[in-house]
Symmetry: C2
Subunit: 114 residues, 2 copies
């Protein structure tokens, strides 16, 4: 889990290269609860985190928000009673960037500490 | 907007009656930015609120969370940069309950105060 979480995010520009298939494969091997989603030409990764209340789910939503604001890169976070879905992709390149893999791994780290 | 927001929620049991078509029609007339969504036999209502930052979107997510916790009835809230999608339905009856219309209207009230 820590391999990706400890990498450093770089500013993502519209001409940035997407994550390579090798990077994606390595991420999914290290973090098997994340799923690759392909919608048309857009790749994203998503995971559902489980909780025992709405309050805990919302607390995690705010922690993911902190991770996102720290790097200026934001996922879609779906908060429900007992679950939070997190989906990462890079709007600027309409694809997965290495940043998405890094911040997804940081979400796992934060969840493990709750 | 205030008509539904000022109604009182009642505990929703599995045998509770869903909102009537007349109630739904009245709600959608009063709150035209909400859409009725029918997925199989499950009805829900949803709306996307717009913001000028991620922080404001997350702030509204927390306000919707407060509304939900006050009544012990919880929507799905999707937080992204600049937008929050809110979807209300009643899991216990797998349908729309009057409570959903009331809490949706309260979300609009809270948004108007931001």
């Amino acid at each position: 889990m820590t391999k990706f979480a400890q990498k450093i995010c770089v500013a993502c520009q519209p001409d940035a290269k997407p994550a390579t298939q090798s990077e994606i494969d390595m991420f999914l091997t290290d973090n098997p609860e994340w799923s690759l989603v392909v919608t048309g030409t857009v790749k994203s990764i998503e995971k559902v985190y489980k909780f025992s209340s709405f309050a805990d789910a919302l607390r995690f939503t705010n922690l993911v928000g902190e991770i996102a604001e720290q790097e200026g890169h934001h996922p879609a976070i779906t908060t429900e009673w007992g679950r939070v879905g997190v989906q990462w992709w890079s709007h600027k390149i309409a694809n997965l960037h290495l940043n998405d893999l890094i911040l997804a791994a940081r979400c796992d780290q934060r969840y493990a500490k709750m």
